[in-house]
């Protein structure tokens, strides 16, 4: 606590945002909103319900919803602007040259930037608590929803702060839209339906209220199934708290790593940190997978989308989910041109050789191997003894994922060390155009539905591999293996191109200025 309340950055934010006039204005607005809500709900002519609650309970639910919006969205945007705005105003360099450590600065901004929104939440507390008492909401439930809401919001704030650090002086609007999209997407129940985990969004606390309301009426409300980690039941509040605290820690590690650095050599994580983060997410993904029920047709509640799954379809489904994870890992590990040049300066020839040119493939290979190995082991453990499973196909798909991700990451890395402005953004754009164009072309030629045609498309695209039936594999195994080697050869070409670029850094800078 003393780290927070004696933190100069926190105090600075508090002084700016909590001037008495602003507090007075906020208090008056909250009081008016509270009285209006109370009066209109408590004396409504109709049977007003909100999340299954009526009367005081409905007012409480309304207040809670407003408090989540204020803290989560308002606070998130404040965090998103905190560093970016300082860069824009040219005050950030002054903070960088002080003796505040990156961690102190990060904590000060994490809790200081959204402090006005926390006070806004506090202003609504009187009416919320009175309404909860009037609506006979158990005190323990009230405590639980507020604690979970706070923990959840802090994670989103840390995420927003991380984006703010990595942003330049522009791109604010896009970043806000991205943050809002993440907030909305993470609140979608469909996101969690494949896993034995309930929502991780702070809006989940509204489900808790809803569940309470329906229990009071002896009715079934929104489906709530218990969380299961490797088939062990775990209370959701524990899962929610642990995941959010750990994610906050991961985001803060990234903030701490970069906050006082020269922006030209930003690196979200060190390679080891990025690798461990991807392993952590892999463990969550596999741990909350409904292993014991997924293979049993017709008995799986709430996971109807993948009931009657086969071992191969499960493996493909998990590898598909991992694409996003390892794609993010690859992007995180990419070295900027300035960083690559700095390494060459520090390490000499070693940082411009073949080992450097295949960067970041070793970490990707290790991460994909770890996940694929775990998936294969778990399928072997949980599958029905009689179910058909082609282990060779499973291994092929894992290797293909690895090679394909390496190819694209090496391409991006090569583009990233090329001279020019926003070369990485251009590279991502070209890659998107490449996939969309080929997808449309191959689709219009109906190649995906022909056994040999699908194998040919795998020369360039990964999609046919991750939807492949064992029968498709057995019709053209040589073609599929050829596609794999072609992908590997493409990856090597990009490694060679990257090496060529790195070799350019070995020379001394030109003797005279060029500009």
């Amino acid at each position: 606590m003393s780290l927070l309340f004696s933190n100069p950055e926190f105090i600075r934010n508090a002084r700016i945002q909590l001037r008495s006039r602003r507090l007075l204005a906020g208090g008056v607005i909250s009081a008016v909103a509270s009285i209006t809500t109370w009066e209109s709900v408590m004396h409504a002519d109709i049977d007003f319900r909100f999340f299954g609650l009526r009367g005081g309970g409905a007012v409480f639910a309304l207040c809670l919803g407003a408090q989540i919006c204020i803290a989560l969205i308002g606070g998130g945007i404040c965090c998103l602007l905190s560093v970016q705005r300082e860069k824009e105003l040219n005050t950030f360099d002054y903070q960088r040259v002080t003796r505040l450590t990156s961690f102190e600065l990060a904590i000060g901004k994490l809790f200081g930037a959204p402090i006005a929104t926390y006070v806004g939440v506090l202003f609504l507390m009187p009416v919320a608590l009175i309404a909860a008492a009037k609506g006979h909401i158990p005190a323990l439930l009230v405590l639980e929803v507020y604690v979970l809401m706070l923990i959840g919001c802090v994670t989103y704030h840390a995420f927003a702060l991380m984006i703010s650090v990595l942003l330049g002086r522009s791109g604010t609007v896009l970043a806000i839209l991205f943050f809002l999209a993440i907030v909305l997407l993470s609140a979608q129940r469909n996101l969690y339906i494949r896993w034995r985990i309930q929502s991780l969004s702070p809006f989940y606390v509204m489900d808790l209220l809803n569940g309470y309301a329906y229990r009071m009426m002896d009715r079934v409300g929104f489906p709530i199934w218990p969380d299961g980690f490797f088939d062990k039941h775990v209370a959701h509040w524990i899962v929610f708290s642990l995941i959010h605290v750990s994610l906050t820690t991961w985001f803060l590690i990234a903030v701490r790593r970069n906050l006082k650095r020269d922006p030209s050599i930003y690196e979200v994580y060190s390679p080891l940190q990025a690798f461990l983060f991807s392993l952590y997410l892999s463990v969550l993904m596999l741990g909350f997978f409904p292993w014991s029920t997924i293979f049993v047709r017709g008995t799986v509640q709430f996971v109807d989308v993948i009931t009657a799954a086969t071992p191969n379809s499960i493996e493909q489904s998990l590898l598909e989910a991992a694409v996003l994870l390892f794609g993010a890992l690859g992007l995180t590990l990419l070295r900027s041109r300035e960083r690559a040049r700095q390494r060459v300066r520090e390490l000499g020839e070693r940082a411009a050789g073949w080992l450097a040119a295949i960067w970041p493939t070793p970490y990707l290979v290790a991460a994909v191997a770890a996940l694929s190995g775990a998936v294969i082991l778990l399928i072997g453990k949980y599958r029905d003894a009689g179910s058909e499973w082609n282990l060779h196909l499973a291994l092929y798909e894992a290797v293909f994922l690895c090679v394909w991700l390496s190819r694209d990451t090496l391409y991006l890395q090569w583009m990233g060390v090329r001279r020019g402005k926003r070369t990485l953004v251009a590279a991502v754009l070209y890659l998107t155009i490449f996939y969309v164009s080929l997808g449309v072309l191959f689709g219009s030629l109906n190649l995906f539905n022909q056994p040999r045609g699908a194998a040919y498309t795998a020369l360039l695209l990964p999609m046919p591999v991750f939807g492949m039936e064992p029968s498709l594999w057995s019709q053209a195994p040589r073609l599929w293996i050829g596609a794999l080697f072609f992908q590997a050869a493409s990856a090597l070409i990009f490694a060679g191109l990257q090496r060529h670029r790195l070799q350019e850094f070995l020379g001394r800078p030109p003797a005279r200025a060029a500009g």
């Binding site: 100069p8 950055e9 105090i11 600075r12 002084r15 700016i16 001037r19 105003l89 040219n90 005050t91 360099d93 002054y94 903070q95 960088r96 040259v97 002080t98 003796r99 505040l100 450590t101 006082k260 020269d262 030209s264 050599i265 041109r337 300035e338 040049r341 700095q342 300066r345 090329r418 001279r419 020019g420 402005k421 070369t423 001394r508 800078p509 030109p510 003797a511 005279r512 200025a513 060029a514 500009g515």
Partner: protein, 315 residues
């Protein structure tokens, strides 16, 4: 106080516009304690980049920077303890009060808690901002804000001040105040590393200067040495008590004299050689009966010297 060793910073030009731009090219420089060191150069010369590398805000492509013996890249936070920095396009937290602003930075520099209120008041007094102590920064004039910026830079009493164009955008009165403040800080033993476009100001306060262009240092040294450098030809002015003597003709006929121009009873001219040449010329002139009543050497301004160096007139 500052030691630059082969300091280099390269930037990439966008593809299609050619190779790289070298904002600082192998700069090697020593700034001793107690100096007021001025860095002069046109926009894009690499002055701000050099300053930012000294402060640890930019990573050099090659080379090292040490401040007070501390390697800035290896131990940035330790080095920054010795540095007070003011950026060119500076901005303050407009919603803070003057004392709150200084208090924030005093805490951020981890000064002794008990010493902070006293130091904040001392700096406010030094910056002549006592009447504005409890006012929001947004209400201050540009000159006051600049003084507060300098106050922030010295709040932790660093031995080195790095100031990037501190006089930019200030009115003449504020410029005079700023100059007085910098002289005062120099008298208190601070080393000041400063860039400015206003060369007359630099000439007045600097003890040493460097002239920088396209990433290179064209001249470095004590101000008087740099001003004297390249002066194989000295400009002199002789005044006569009466106008009867044909001084212009007499001077024009002498070897080593050029650029003779009459200005009333005075004549200005350039003379090659040292003091002994002046003495000989004066002796012969008096022997010829010229009513000499004054001889003075005309000084060259930093501005003139800078333009001669940057145009290649002086190599």
């Amino acid at each position: 106080m500052i030691h630059l060793d082969n300091l280099t910073k390269q930037y990439d030009l966008p593809s299609g516009k050619g190779g790289t731009i070298v904002a600082a090219d192998g700069l090697t420089l020593d700034v001793p304690d107690g100096e007021v060191f001025g860095l002069v150069g046109p926009n894009g010369a690499g002055k701000t980049t050099t300053l930012k590398m000294i402060c640890g805000l930019h990573e050099p492509t090659f080379g090292t920077v040490a401040v007070n013996g501390v390697d800035v890249q290896r131990a940035p936070e330790e080095a920054q303890r010795h540095i007070g920095y003011l950026a060119d396009f500076f901005s303050l937290y407009d919603d803070l009060k003057v004392w709150e602003y200084l208090d924030y930075f005093a805490h951020a520099y981890k000064m002794e808690e008990a010493a902070i209120p006293g130091r904040v008041n001392e700096v406010i007094r030094l910056m002549n901002l006592e009447s504005k102590r409890d006012e929001l920064i947004t209400g201050l004039s540009r000159g006051m804000k600049q003084r507060l910026g300098v106050g922030r830079a010295i709040i932790h009493d660093p031995p080195l001040l790095v100031l990037d164009e501190p006089a930019a955008g200030l009115d003449p009165k504020a410029r005079v105040e700023l100059k007085a403040l910098l002289k005062d800080l120099h008298a208190r033993g601070k080393t000041i590393f400063i860039t400015s476009h206003i060369l007359a100001d630099l000439e007045e306060i600097c003890t040493s200067i460097a002239i920088m262009e396209k990433g290179h240092l064209l001249r470095v040294g004590r101000l008087e040495d740099v001003m004297q450098e390249g002066k194989s030809v000295r400009r002199l002015r002789i005044r006569l008590a009466t106008s009867g003597f044909a001084l212009t003709d007499w001077l024009s006929a002498r070897p080593g004299v050029s650029g003779v121009a009459a200005r009333g009873t005075a004549v200005e001219f350039a003379l090659e050689g040292g003091d002994e040449h002046i003495a000989t010329l004066l002796r012969e002139l008096i022997a010829k009966g010229a009513p000499v009543c004054g001889l003075e050497e005309m000084s060259e301004s930093l501005e003139r010297l800078y333009s001669r160096i940057s145009s290649g007139e002086v190599m």
